[in-house]
């Protein structure tokens, strides 16, 4: 009787404790959201989103940062989505599950997903800027300095490497939900393998490619470490017009304003508003991805 009571108490304690952990995590999410919204909502306005910073970034809006972030994720997606999709197609359609090549690629993708983002920044500096950019300048421009410095292209490509695993994983997951019967039907009608992939598999997994792109964009918009020295600029008076220009970035803007500026307190509302914009952006994108994915999973069932 006594042990039974003891068991009940321990059981109750464990259940409560584990439930409390969940509540704690959810509470943290809500607190971060609420604090950012309260801190930023009075500054946030249409004008804030569409105007340039003024008076040495003490006042004004964050339009260049939004514009730069948008350019970054667009160039990044152009690079990451096709390559990611093709890798996913290889892994699910061409490779044998047990072959060493497929397993090595899988391991590489998972490793790529866990490499710290600052390492991508170092790689971008060493490979893209110094090696590729320096090589391009030497060969095509006769040593004139154009590509061997941080710019939009190198920042975006560095970010593309970081988001490649995100695309690969979601696309592969979607491709696996295309029923095998559809492929067999297509092949039985005389279509070749590539025709089957192009006309049956890819259209069937388009929602997965979309989810992958959304998740990659959300990740790319939020990461700062990879672009610290591959393209982001503290302040630019003009918008970037070519791939060889530097750009401003929402996340970098927050970092610079909150740690590097001389009067952090005065610009606090701007910082909160910028954080709110970034958080809303990534939050909405992630939510969209979750919704698409859950509808996808329901379809499979």
């Amino acid at each position: 009787m006594k042990t039974r009571l003891k068991n009940k108490i321990i059981g109750g304690a464990i259940t409560t404790l584990s439930a409390l952990s969940v509540v704690l995590i959810l509470a943290i999410i809500i607190i971060i959201l609420v604090v950012t919204i309260i801190g930023g909502k009075s500054t946030l306005s249409w004008e804030f989103l569409t105007s340039f910073p003024t008076e040495g970034m003490m006042k004004g809006g964050i339009f260049p940062a939004i514009y730069g972030t948008a350019l970054l994720v667009i160039v990044m997606s152009i690079a990451a989505v096709p390559f990611g999709t093709i890798t996913a197609i290889y892994l699910s359609e061409y490779a044998h599950e047990k072959s060493w090549l497929a397993q090595t690629i899988r391991f590489a993708v998972r490793t790529l997903a866990t490499v710290p983002s600052i390492i991508f920044g170092l790689f971008g500096l060493g490979f893209f800027i110094k090696f590729v950019g320096g090589g391009m300048d030497n060969w095509f421009l006769g040593g004139q300095l154009k590509w061997a410095q941080p710019n939009l292209l190198w920042g975006s490509l560095t970010m593309a490497l970081l988001t490649l695993p995100v695309v690969i994983v979601s696309v592969e997951e979607a491709i696996r939900t295309v029923p095998r019967e559809l492929r067999e039907a297509s092949l039985a009608l005389g279509a070749t393998k590539w025709q089957t992939i192009w006309k049956v598999v890819i259209p069937g997994s388009i929602s997965g490619i979309m989810t992958g792109t959304i998740l990659a964009v959300s990740r790319g918009a939020g990461e700062v470490a990879p672009i610290l020295f591959t393209g982001a600029a503290y302040y630019l008076a003009t918008l970037p017009t070519s791939l060889s220009d530097q750009f401003m970035n929402l996340g970098y803007h927050i970092y610079v304003m909150s740690t590097q500026s001389s009067n952090v307190d005065q610009t606090l509302p701007i910082q909160f508003a910028t954080t709110l914009v970034l958080l809303m952006l990534t939050f909405t994108l992630n939510l969209a991805a979750v919704l698409i994915r859950s509808s996808l999973r329901r379809r499979v069932k």
Partner: protein, 375 residues
């Protein structure tokens, strides 16, 4: 009708049944395969280039190139090098005051003439890698990595002490105790936390959490390894939660049914049967969490105070390895010792992370499969 034709058409010979060579098929397969090699190539390239760029740290030949210099003139004297001496007045605002790389990149730098001289003094300081002092920008630069290692380990330990129990308990609740409808909500909700950019978590820690925790515990330095550790725990929780949850749900139902049939209660089954069976998976989850915290840059930059102190007090400011790269890379001269040392730190972070991932992948997964199959 024309039966001859039909007859002729359906004569199968060994030749007609052979797979036809189609150039487009051949090309598409080759192209797809070679693109798939990209991820392997990237890993190798990262390893090669990050390590190659760290070579200047081993060369004693001073080589100061000023073409890529991105430091704006005049901020050198008041950069972190000097401020680190006094531990009491640590503020994150003090290091590398301005980073406006674009504005001054092309300007003539009046400070440039000082640089080569500094490069010459770098000679012989490789031995200082194991010293206790990290003063990269001073008359006599010293690159002691010990304080950075201690700082990183401190932050990682604090982060894991918070993240691991909370995330594992939450995963246990989600997989064993929660009703199915609730479970379908908990998982995506916690995964939303993984979508929070680390700069947002860092900003939250810097502006809100640091003040809150200081008022609560009443320590002196506002930004320290404790604040940084808790902020990083927020980044690690979703990773540990997701992988632990997957490991717990991967345990076959027969385990659970056998335990319940023997008269064990729900919590006894969860704690004494399912949790032990999933230990390798949970171990992998914690390992990957450690990897995430170890390499986290933005939160470390914003919330740890960035002073290279090597004390063991958790309420002291620290400087982590990743944050050092992030803070100083934009200010170094390309190709000199400091640049090389930062890349050396990068190589170490990469190797560390690679090993963690490899252990999680091969050792732990093999063990998990063995355990479930009961061999």
């Amino acid at each position: 009708m024309n039966s001859d034709l039909v007859k002729n058409k359906f004569v199968f010979t060994a030749d007609s049944l052979k797979k036809k060579f189609r150039l487009s098929e051949f090309l598409s397969e080759k192209i797809i395969t070679s693109v798939a090699f990209l991820s392997i190539a990237v890993i190798i390239l990262i390893f090669f280039f990050v390590f190659r760029e760290s070579l200047p740290a081993f060369k004693h030949r001073p080589k100061a190139t000023t073409e890529q210099q991105k430091v704006s003139a005049g901020n050198k004297p008041e950069s972190y090098g000097s401020s680190e001496v006094s531990a009491a007045e640590k503020k994150p605002e003090t290091y590398g005051a301005v980073k406006d790389s674009s504005v001054t990149a092309d300007e003539v730098n009046p400070d440039a003439s000082l640089r080569p001289a500094e490069g010459a003094e770098n000679e012989g300081s490789l031995s200082s890698l194991f010293s206790n002092e990290w003063y990269p920008v001073s008359e006599n630069p010293r690159y002691g990595l010990i304080p950075l290692f201690i700082g990183t380990l401190k932050v990682t330990l604090i982060a894991m002490l918070f993240a691991a129990p909370i995330a594992i308990l939450a995963a246990l609740f989600s997989s064993s105790f929660a009703p199915p409808w609730l479970r379908e909500w908990i998982k995506p909700a916690i995964e939303l936390l993984a979508g929070f950019p680390s700069v947002v978590i860092g900003f939250f820690a810097l502006m809100v959490m640091a003040t809150f925790l200081q008022n609560m515990f009443g320590y002196e330095t506002r930004l320290n390894s404790f604040v940084g550790g808790i902020a990083m725990a927020l980044a690690a929780i979703p990773i540990i939660f997701t992988i632990t949850e997957d490991a717990l749900t991967a345990i076959p139902d027969t385990y659970k049914e056998a335990s319940l049939a023997l008269g064990a209660s729900k919590w006894q089954t969860a704690v004494f049967v399912i949790l032990p069976a999933a230990t390798p998976g949970i171990f992998a989850a914690v390992l990957l969490g450690v990897g995430r915290v170890f390499g986290e840059t933005m939160i470390a930059l914003m919330a740890t105070g960035n002073a290279a102190l090597s004390g063991l007090n958790p309420f002291e400011s620290v400087r982590t390895l990743a944050a050092t790269i992030g803070a100083e890379m934009a200010e170094v001269v390309f190709g000199d010792m400091h640049y090389g040392v930062l890349f050396l730190i990068g190589s170490m972070l990469f190797i560390f992370n690679f090993s963690i991932n490899a252990i999680a992948e091969f050792y732990v997964k093999g063990k998990l499969v063995k355990k479930i199959q009961g061999k």
